[in-house]
Structure formats: structure tokens, C-alpha cells
């Protein structure tokens, strides 16, 4: 369990090839989300924050299926994805608490996580914004003669916005190496998908673009990884984009203060019975990777690590006042500090 303690996003990402680490990371995501909830109550978090507990298998299943070189765009509901991709708990928690230690130095907040070294572009707070950006990243990869791909992660509700349609069409006609991942957690904010979307499966929309699609059990990280591997391979072969729909569920409300009273009785309980952490843990016991009952120990260890990261965060200062003006344009930045995706 030492792997999780690495502070290098790249090392954390590479570690995900390890079976146990896959489980550990899902447990870590859950623990971080729970800690954020608490930090919110303790007054350390401003604005809003969008937890993704229940959706950990999607995050880890994606992250283990793509290279650190590949580019990822995702939404404000991005804590889990960021952690899975390799961003450290301290960098995630730090950003959410507005500290220098945060991945955007406390300037961005919960909706704007970023880590170029593992391909994570700043997560966007505007619905649909990440999809065309992923298309552009894919264009760049192709122009560089490189087999990198781009992944864009968004929700079921986001499949009703114009950018979804334009992006899928654009990627299809240009055969771009993009994987569009729709996390269908059945709700967009407080609205159940049936009330906003006249089809049950977002995946059917791929037909409008002559694009292959897949519908995946998003609670099973192995199934997620399997579907991703297929779509990623297709993209790398230059055959174009795929729309992959992950059927999943968020245990919490939409954002911090939402008690999610709009959910029908019993729905949450049914999903809890298929908890992604339990599903993988049971399988790992079968695989002899995890000892019977080892999950509890794992959880405790991870919780300790997250607690330590939290302590580190709470000791970290906020950004200096002159950070306000330091990253507006090249003129304000004191020289070019840009990340070069192609230097590796």
C-alpha cells in the first residue's frame, strides 16, 4: 500500500496497472470525497463542490486504460477523475480549500482541477465545454504524428447541449482519436434523465454520427477498463471516435447542500448494493490479491493517508495576493512557463 503515498502524479498513474492499487485508488477517491464533505462542513470549502462517490469505478477504469500522455477533459464533477489520473489527494484537497498546495494553486477551486503531467486539462465549469476541447487535443496529437488520444468525460445531462452534438459530429467526420465517455448517473442536477432526455441510453445518439458506441456497467471497473481499451485501441488505430456510456450513480446529491430528495425511495439502496469498491474488492479476494477482510484495513490505511494529506493542506498557506495578476497573459506571467506536451 505504499504506492498511494507517492507524490508524483505520473508514478501514481503508472501504479494503476497494479490490481491492488486499482482498488486502493477507488477507496482513496471515496475517502477524499468524504473528507471534502467534512471540510465543507468545517468551513474550509467555498462555492460549491460536486462529489462523485459511487462513480469511482468509472474514474479508475478510465485512468488505467489510457496513457499518461493522453489528454483528458472533464467537468466540475472531477475529483475522482483527477485522483485516478494521478493528481495527489493533497493537490485535490488543496485546490478545493484554496491553498497554494492545490493543483491550481488555490486560484481555481473545486470545479477547476488540472495536472498537465498526466494529461488533465483544467476541468470546465460550463456544461459541454470539454468535448470540443478534447477534439482539438486529438487533432494536435494527430498533427504531431503521435498516437496519443483524447478522452472527454461528461454527464448524461450534458448530452442535451449543443456542444455534445457538434463535437461528436466533428470528431466522426474527421475520424479523430477521441473517446467520448458519458457518465450516465441518471440525474442532471435535480432532474431525472427521463424528464430531460427522450431516450434511455445516451449511447444510441452515436447513430447520428455513424459512430460505434458501447454501454457499460459503470460500477465494475474491469468492465469499464475493457470497454475503454476497445475504444482507445480503435482511436489509436486511426479509426475514429467512440461513444462509451457508463451506467453509474452518484450517492450524494448534485452539489454540497443537495439532500437529493428527488430520488425515488429505494433507488440509492439498490445502487449501494452494487458498490464499485465492494465489487472489485470481492473480485480481488477471488484473485488472491486481497486477503479476506482486507478491505477494512485498506480503508483505514487510506483514510489515514487522506487525513495526513488534509493536515498538510490545512497547514498550506493561501496563494499570495500578487497571484491575482500573475497568470492573466504572457505579459503578466514573468516569462513563459508553459507545459510542453511534446517534450516527453
Amino acid at each position: 500500500m505504499t504506492i498511494s503515498n507517492s507524490n508524483s502524479p505520473i508514478a501514481r498513474r503508472e501504479a494503476l496497472q497494479d490490481r491492488l492499487e486499482q482498488l486502493t485508488r477507488m477507496v482513496e477517491i471515496r475517502a477524499v470525497e468524504e473528507r471534502i464533505q467534512k471540510l465543507f462542513a468545517e468551513g474550509h470549502v467555498r462555492g460549491s463542490t460536486h462529489l462523485a462517490n459511487g462513480q469511482e469505478a468509472v474514474s479508475v477504469g478510465i485512468a488505467r486504460s489510457i496513457d499518461p500522455d493522453d489528454i483528458v477533459t472533464c467537468t466540475y464533477r472531477g475529483h475522482g477523475h483527477a485522483l485516478a489520473l494521478g493528481v495527489t489527494p493533497a493537490a485535490v484537497l488543496g485546490e478545493i480549500c484554496g491553498r497554494v498546495i492545490g493543483c491550481a494553486g488555490g486560484l481555481g477551486g473545486s470545479m477547476h482541477l488540472v495536472e498537465p503531467s498526466v494529461g488533465l486539462l483544467p476541468t470546465a465549469a460550463i456544461i459541454g465545454a470539454g468535448l470540443p476541447i478534447a477534439c482539438g487535443a486529438a487533432m494536435a496529437a494527430r498533427a504531431r504524428g503521435n498516437d496519443r488520444i483524447a478522452v472527454s468525460i461528461f454527464g448524461d445531462g450534458s448530452a442535451n447541449i449543443g456542444a455534445f452534438h457538434e463535437s461528436l459530429n466533428f470528431a466522426a467526420i474527421r475520424k479523430l482519436p477521441v473517446v467520448f465517455v458519458c457518465e450516465n448517473n441518471l440525474y442532471g442536477e435535480y432532474t431525472r434523465i427521463q424528464l430531460s432526455t427522450p431516450v434511455e441510453d445516451i449511447a444510441v445518439r452515436a447513430g447520428s454520427y455513424n459512430m460505434p458506441s458501447d454501454i457499460v456497467d459503470g460500477q465494475d471497473s474491469d468492465k469499464v477498463a475493457e470497454a475503454m481499451a476497445k475504444a482507445v485501441a480503435r482511436a489509436r488505430r486511426g479509426e475514429g471516435p467512440t461513444l462509451v456510456e457508463m451506467k453509474t450513480y452518484r450517492y450524494s446529491g448534485h452539489s454540497r447542500s443537495d439532500p437529493a430528495t428527488y430520488r425515488p425511495a429505494g433507488e440509492l439502496d439498490a445502487w449501494l448494493k452494487r458498490d464499485p469498491i465492494d465489487i472489485l474488492a470481492n473480485r480481488l479476494v477471488g484473485e488472491n490479491v486481497l486477503a479476506e477482510g482486507g478491505l477494512d484495513k485498506l480503508k483505514a490505511d487510506v483514510r489515514d493517508a487522506v487525513e495526513a494529506a488534509t493536515a498538510e493542506v490545512l497547514e498550506s498557506p493561501g496563494p499570495a495576493l500578487d497571484e491575482i495578476m500573475s497568470h492573466v497573459g504572457a505579459y503578466s506571467a514573468g516569462g513563459d512557463q508553459r507545459w510542453n506536451f511534446w517534450s516527453k
Binding site: 470549502v45 477551486g109 442535451n160 449543443g162 456542444a163 432532474t191 493561501g318
Partner: protein, 335 residues
């Protein structure tokens, strides 16, 4: 007089407008069943039914455009943009379609819709959820823009906007929703669009401001040695040149207090107009207090510095009054 949350003033204005005019309908994301992300539409669905209080998919272009079509065909749609930034994916429908409807039909058709949006900074929503963005709308021929500043102006402006025969944008500073204040509803109360209000009389300088900065200006005036007049501009376009010019005529000094960077703030137009109208009679150069030219920071300390505080405003105005020179903003010296 009862204390209410300002969000209740929004709700009351919408509810009263729906009661008075059966053609008023509402559209937006989660405004109906959930009562609105900021709870400003709570109870409207129960009171007026799902044909009038409409939850939409996440499709700003569709529901903004549907508002245009419904307005042209005799309805009075009130659209909620949860955060004003979201209209960045649908601006065309408002500024290019709705605003030209009257012109392109030689007055036969109009699009009397209202776009209400929460706007502004101060709560840690980060740089994509914290702007005013009135510059996207201001000065568009055929479109009006107003900003609310308390329960009374919220009620008065919203009712007027809904009754207006042309499209109107109402920006509601989000930070005010959870403020409580004394306010007695009068369902006949209206604030005419295009009229500013002098909210504090003074003799040394006129602060022209709007939105959540009105509170800041008033607090600055309270604490200041200078005797400051404060104008709540209320409507940013078309704005009330007469009230501002008369006030500046009395005080001899104009200060704009804007929740926007200088490059896009409404103060440019105000200063450029008053500089002409009062040429040669001002005691000091007109002075603009704006945001720095930077995105809104998330961190609380930075965001608090980013926004003009009462102390900073008082300091700036006092410097202007005492030296008759424009004081520098903090961020030039800070960087």
C-alpha cells in the same frame, strides 16, 4: 415591516407577475420541481402548474430560443440563466434574434422576454461562475439591461421587466440572495427601467454604482470623512443620464464603482458621457473603481481583495476629494 431574504423578493415578483398575467411563463434548469438552484422559484410550480413553470433540459440555446419564439407569439417568457456565464453558449438568441425582432418586422413583432440570471463574485464559485458580463448585452440596440441591488429593487425591476414590451436582461447579484432585510411588499410597486436612484445624498462626490456594489458604496460613504452621494444606476442600458448629470453637477466629482474590469465595465460609457456634459465644471477628474484585469480568484482572501471593499472605496474617494487627482488602483502598485 417583515424581514425577508432577497431571494424571496425574486420569488414574490415572479409569483405576482404570474398571477397578474396568464401569459407569463418561466423556463430554466431545475426551476420547477426543485424550486431553483438558488431557491428563488420555490413553490411556483405548485402554484402555476407545469405548463407555466418549466424545467428544461441542459440546453440554453433551445430554451433561450424558445423564449424568443414564445414571446413573439404572445407569451411573456421569463428565462433563468442559473449563472450568467451559461448564456455564452446561447448569446445569439438574445442579442441577434430577440433584439432585432421588432426591427426586422418594422414594429409588427417583438420579443418581450426577460432573462434573469444570477451574477457576480464573492462566494468562491471560481472564475467561470463569478462574472457580471453585462458588457455582452449593454448597448445592444433593442435590449435593456438592469441590475438588482436589494429586495425592493429586485421586486420593482423584475416586475417592470416582465411588463416591458421589449427584451430585458435582469442580473441578480447572487451574493444578495441570502441577505435578509426589511421589506414591505406592495404588488403595485415598480421601478421604471431607465431610471436611477439617489440612495444617499452627499456633497463632495457622487459614486455611481449598481448591484452588490451599492452596499459597498453605502458602507464606504458611512465610514468616510468625505460627504458622499451614492447613485444606484439600476438600469445599465439605457442608463439615466439626467440623474447622474444632476448629481455630479451638485457634487462636482464623479466616481464609478463597477464589478467589472475597466476594459468591459459600464463606467466607461458613464464617464465619457459625463465628461462631455460637465466639461470644465468638474472639481476632479472622473474616477473609475473597477476590478483588476484578471479572472476572479477562488481563494477567499484573494477574492475579497479582488472585489472593492468599503474601506478601499472610502480611501479612493477620500484621495480624490482631498487631492482632486485620480488615485491609482491597488493592483498596479501591488504587482
Amino acid at each position: 415591516m417583515a424581514k425577508i431574504w432577497i431571494r424571496q423578493a425574486v420569488l414574490r415578483a415572479l409569483d405576482d407577475a404570474m398571477k397578474d398575467d396568464p401569459t407569463v411563463i418561466m423556463m430554466g434548469e431545475d426551476i420547477a420541481a426543485a424550486g431553483g438552484p438558488f431557491k428563488v422559484t420555490e413553490g411556483l410550480l405548485a402554484a402555476h402548474g407545469p405548463d407555466r413553470v418549466i424545467d428544461t433540459p441542459i440546453s440554453e440555446m433551445a430554451f433561450m430560443g424558445a423564449a424568443v419564439g414564445a414571446a413573439v407569439c404572445g407569451m411573456k417568457p421569463v428565462v433563468e440563466m442559473m449563472f450568467i456565464e451559461f448564456i455564452g453558449v446561447a448569446l445569439d438568441q438574445l442579442t441577434t434574434q430577440a433584439a432585432t425582432m421588432r426591427y426586422l418586422s418594422r414594429g409588427q413583432l417583438t420579443a418581450p422576454l426577460v432573462v434573469r440570471a444570477s451574477a457576480g463574485a464573492g462566494q468562491g464559485f471560481g472564475c467561470q461562475h463569478s462574472q457580471m458580463l453585462d458588457h455582452w448585452f449593454r448597448g445592444t440596440p433593442g435590449l435593456k439591461v438592469a441590475v438588482t441591488s436589494n429586495a425592493r429593487t429586485t421586486y420593482g425591476l423584475l416586475r417592470s421587466a416582465i411588463e416591458d414590451p421589449d427584451p430585458v436582461v435582469i442580473l441578480e447579484p447572487r451574493i444578495l440572495y441570502a441577505e435578509r432585510e426589511e421589506y414591505e411588499f406592495d404588488s403595485s410597486y415598480r421601478i421604471p427601467l431607465g431610471k436611477a436612484e439617489i440612495v444617499r445624498a452627499g456633497t463632495d462626490a457622487t459614486i455611481v454604482t449598481c448591484g452588490s456594489m451599492v452596499r459597498v458604496a453605502l458602507a464606504a460613504a458611512e465610514s468616510s470623512k468625505a460627504n458622499i452621494e451614492v447613485i444606484d444606476l439600476l438600469t445599465l442600458w439605457p442608463w439615466d443620464r439626467k440623474t447622474v448629470a444632476e448629481s455630479v453637477g451638485r457634487t462636482g466629482r464623479l466616481v464609478t464603482l463597477e464589478e467589472a474590469p475597466a476594459g468591459s465595465g459600464w463606467g466607461g460609457d458613464v464617464v465619457s458621457h459625463i465628461a462631455v456634459e460637465k466639461f470644465g465644471s468638474l472639481k476632479a477628474p472622473p474616477h473609475r473603481i473597477t476590478l483588476p484585469d484578471a479572472p476572479v480568484p477562488y481563494n477567499g482572501t484573494l477574492e475579497a481583495r479582488f472585489l472593492p471593499s468599503p474601506a478601499y472605496v472610502a480611501e479612493q474617494v477620500e484621495a480624490l476629494v482631498s487631492t482632486n487627482k485620480s488615485p491609482a488602483p491597488w493592483w498596479r502598485t501591488a504587482a
